[in-house]
Amino acid sequence: MSVLVYIDTLNGKIAKNALEAVQYGSKIGDTTVVTNGNISDSALQVLGGVGAKKVLVNKNLKSNDASQVAKLVKAAAEATGADTIVFSSDLTGKAVAPRVSASLKAGLVSGAIGLPEGDGSVKVNVFSGKAFGKVTVNTDKKVIALTPNAVGVVEGEGTAPVEAFDAEVGQSSITVKEVKRQEGDVLLPEAELVVSAGRGLKGPENWGMVEDLAKALGAATACSRPVADIGWRPHHEHVGQTGVAIRPNLYIAAGISGAIQHLAGVNGSKVIVVINTDPEAPFFKAADYGIVGDAFDVLPKLTAEIEKLKAQN
């Protein structure tokens, strides 16, 4: 099997979900990675360690225009003879994978959470994480978009040569006027640890204790929908059915009752801790650990204990 994995490195970094997609590909077959933009060859060295055999980079294409990236991926698939094309189901993957699939008439499995099984079927998330489906592809060529944080990454010793890759990608009909990237903070969609809070925090001025805990843990911060809707927190922090769906290793929810729409965005989390004054809060049914108590009391204590643990290790 020959596999091609596309990763978005436009911001000059290789995100964890990109490493996951490369390692996922390498478990299916011989994997070539294709990427574009301002990424240095030295940064790309890490890809050999997660299973890539070769890396193709097009430094001229500094855009995430789905039409152009799709053309780049198709050219790379043709050059390498790939029969399986893998994307991470991140924001770029979600835009590009459908274009590649429709253009090649190669069935697209999106939201994959496991490797293809013996019968070729792939397990995916459906019903907003409330169920799994088994999907088979009816075409010879396949496209798979892998859910971020669904498979682990183990870094090994391998190396992969980096080659420049030229392709005719046409002109973009989309003009980028402004790019705003979050700097510094842990990005929510790829965070392994997330601290989240809801209306129980009573006001935006009380978020300091959420941020303190997140800082102590090295976690990203998130919030429930009402909190984003009333403007206490930015919309990109809203996790849930209509916000971001996340699958961190640890999700700590303080002052969030756990409406079913919120759970749909976090039910892929490995461990859920719920802190709520209401023992009847539905979130406790989805929690691994629960504290019936006031976030104003528990969060600072939790921060202190985490700091203590970090100091010991």
Partner: protein, 246 residues
Amino acid sequence: MKLLVCISKAPDTTSKIDFTDNNTKFNEAGVQFIVNPYDEWYALVRAIELKEQNGGSVTTITVGTQADEPVIRKALAIGADNAVRVDAEANDAYSTAFQIAEYAKSNGFDIVFTGKETINYNGSQVGGMIAEILDQPFVSLATKLDMNGNTATLHQEIVGGDEVVEVNTPFVVSAAKGMAEQRIPNMRGIMAARTKPLEVIPAADCQPLVSFESYELPPAKSECKYLDADNVAELVNLLHNEAKVI
């Protein structure tokens, strides 16, 4: 401006999810179907707002059977002018996108709207596929869309941030949270929706590229372990030594 909004039916967000026929079919018994929230709250409402500002028409298109018509009427009640139903089961994203693209090709729309994903299949596939088949630009996960003549300014979520882009019509856009506010249809809208045109057209020939073989429910969550609010140290200990996540 001629605007086309893709409408999918989805189970109400509070529905109990289970399966029948040896776990090969979603159990629709007792399930209330709604317009997929991303299609309704963001895509459809923004299209209607643009029509109100700039004139033109809003057409909805659904690939589905007669069972989808109540959901289509709901979209008309919110304010779409007319609806099209392609008479076919929506088997997979590609065949759905193909049917919509076929209709769009012969009717020439300025913008084709989809929601960012459906809440039942979560694929985020149809919009990009329509754009590819129509050979049009695709702006995915847009949170804001304003028109100035034929030029649209959009805010789009990208990896690690967002960007502002400009694109000329025609194009395809998938709508995410922020693009518009939900509208509750009023009685006049509901009455008017009964007589608005709902055209049923035959499906073009297209084979699905993927098939859903079966479904399963996630394993039951183990009981929540409760800890005392005065014993936060024990929680940290369990997260470190038992769950091993910190």
